[in-house]
């Protein structure tokens, strides 16, 4: 059976941006195609790795922003 979905559909599925009909077609294909399922798993694992990466701003930056906000508010009302 020829595939209706393209590899790009896998990405759209993982980011929840696939239209309902295309999603339904893709889910059906995934249930019949182990290679496609493996491809989806690989992308999902990489995305999960991105989710776990620590790219937080330093707490000092957060504190400085809060202080700036409070001070500038005081000046506005002075």
């Amino acid at each position: 059976m020829p595939l209706k979905s393209t590899p790009n559909h896998l990405i759209a599925l993982l980011y929840n941006e696939l239209e309902p009909t295309a999603k339904s077609d893709l889910l059906e294909e995934l249930s019949l195609n182990n290679d496609l399922q493996q491809q989806l798993n690989d992308y999902a694992e990489t995305i999960s790795f991105l989710d776990e990466s620590e790219l937080d701003a330093n707490p000092t930056s957060i504190q400085l922003i809060m202080e700036y906000s409070a001070k500038s508010k005081e000046l506005e009302h002075a």
């Binding site: 790009n8 992308y43 990466s53 922003i65």
Partner: protein, 193 residues
Amino acid sequence: MKNVQQISDQELVHLYIQGNEACLEQLLKRHQRSIFSAIYLLVKNRALAEDIFQETFIKIIHTLRLGNYNEEGKFGPWAVRIGRNLTIDYIRKQKRNLTITDSDGNDILSYIQIAEESREDKLIQYQTEQNIKELVKRLPDEQREVLIMRHWGDMSFKEIAEKTGVSINTALGRMRYALSNLRKMMDQQAVKI
């Protein structure tokens, strides 16, 4: 009154404008990671990213207080766009202003940047949790841009396509190549997923 954690971004913005500072703190908590990541992955320098991150929020504070915010319900992507634009402005200024050449006509700044990067690289090598930053940096620009905008910038592929002037399918394809390339690099470096 609801706990700030249960309040939508839109409500937090309105309450902050009315003077509730705790609402800004909550907006920071929710979005600092995506904003900071978007900045860091472009400038590739922690200290500089912190400066631009602070500048981003100063601009956000002013925009909110002046009543010029009109992106209802889209605070996150809007804030990431501000951070990204400030970063791009900074990079453009650097390129324009700092071209000091040596006797052979080479840009001296490039030596300094290389030296800083290698020192930073060495530190990062010892911090396995930071591996992803290194891998993302190595992606081609077009792939890195889509990855940052979608994953940390919370922009839809449609918005990315409009912003970068390509079709949605091209944006999706770039994201797919970015993920595939990251996967390959992780396998090569035996990064544990």
